[in-house]
Amino acid sequence: MNETLELGRLAAIIAPLLIIQLILMVIALIQCIKAEETRGPKLVWILIIIFINLLGPIAFFLFGRRQRG
């Protein structure tokens, strides 16, 4: 198996995945910081969003924000 060739291909394949995950993380972070109130401490949410990839932002989008009203 040609290692260097494989590595370049791997990068090309993985890059979109990482970029999408990064976008999700950034949107979640912006939302979290802008929100007046989150369900639970804001700092914990920020840590969750940053350190648990994919599931962290999803969890914040689903449960993090308080319903207005």
């Binding site: 791997l10 993985i14 999408i20 999700l24 989008f61 009203g69």
Partner: protein, 267 residues
């Protein structure tokens, strides 16, 4: 345009705006994209990952057969069936109950809008969104499978997409019904997901008796994508299951409209 369609269009626009405001329009498709890409990639690199990270003694040779491209797509579908359904049901759990609780539902319904139009607009926007999101995710999986493995014909791909979409439509219509029926959003999500799990379990345990149930649709979808060149035999159980699911979807929709008419606002 008749009055009725105009009302419906306005209500649909409201639902659309709601999706945009809650950022669901952005993050749900992105998550489905990740799920769709992840499965083919991890199937492809699994042997390599095990070889590099498995801490195997020197000289161990493990032969892991590469999954076929059809198998990868079927695995992706089952991934959507788990994570995707969970995400969609959770994000739609409050579709009626939250509007009722906040009073938004009564604000809309004091206007000359029929309960049916209100419900249909919610249901339509929900289904459009679901089918779209599923297409994005599954399409990405198809493309990546093509890149890494081999091409799966368009026919089997589309048939499995349609069957899976119907299964999703059923569970989400049930979510709509439960969201109207129950006061708590969490309860609605739990009931809908419980129903999904129960039906797939029963479908797996008693395939003979459950061949007609909506839960069997997932199995038919896997079968459709795995049967070479779309030569899936379209026999009675398949059509029976499609028909029953469509009927149940309609029943859920009408049931929720009727429930809403009986009690437009809770407290």
């Amino acid at each position: 345009m008749s009055m009725k369609t105009r009302v419906l269009m306005t209500l649909l626009r409201k639902e659309w705006l709601e999706l945009l405001r809650s950022y669901k329009l952005i993050w749900v498709p992105l998550v489905f994209l990740v799920l769709g890409i992840m499965q083919p990639v991890s199937s492809y690199y699994m042997p390599l990952i095990i070889e590099k990270a498995g801490n195997m003694p020197e000289g161990t040779i493990i032969e892991i057969p590469m999954p076929s491209e059809e198998q990868v797509l079927a695995e992706t579908l089952s991934q959507f069936g788990l994570m995707g359904l969970l995400i969609l049901a959770l994000s739609y759990m409050g579709i009626v109950s939250a509007e009722r609780a906040s009073g938004a539902a009564s604000l809309v319904l004091v206007k000359p809008i029929s309960f049916t139009a209100y419900m249909v607009s919610k249901w339509l926007s929900m289904l459009l969104f679901t089918w779209g999101v599923l297409l994005i995710g599954y399409g990405a999986a198809w493309y990546y499978t093509w890149l890494l493995f081999d091409k799966v014909e368009l026919g089997p791909f589309l048939i499995s997409y349609l069957l899976y979409g119907l299964w999703f439509s059923f569970i989400l219509s049930a979510t709509l019904l439960f969201s109207t029926l129950l006061r708590s959003a969490a309860g609605a999500a739990c009931s809908a997901l419980g129903l999904a799990i129960l039906l797939s379990l029963l479908g797996g345990l008693l395939p003979k008796y459950m061949a007609c149930s909506p839960g069997a649709l997932t199995g038919y979808a896997y079968e459709a994508v795995q049967s070479a060149s779309g030569s899936m035999k379209a026999d009675a159980p398949l059509w029976c299951s499609i028909g029953l699911t469509a009927a149940l979807v309609a029943a859920c929709l009408m049931g929720s409209a009727a429930l809403l008419r009986r009690a437009p606002a809770i407290d």
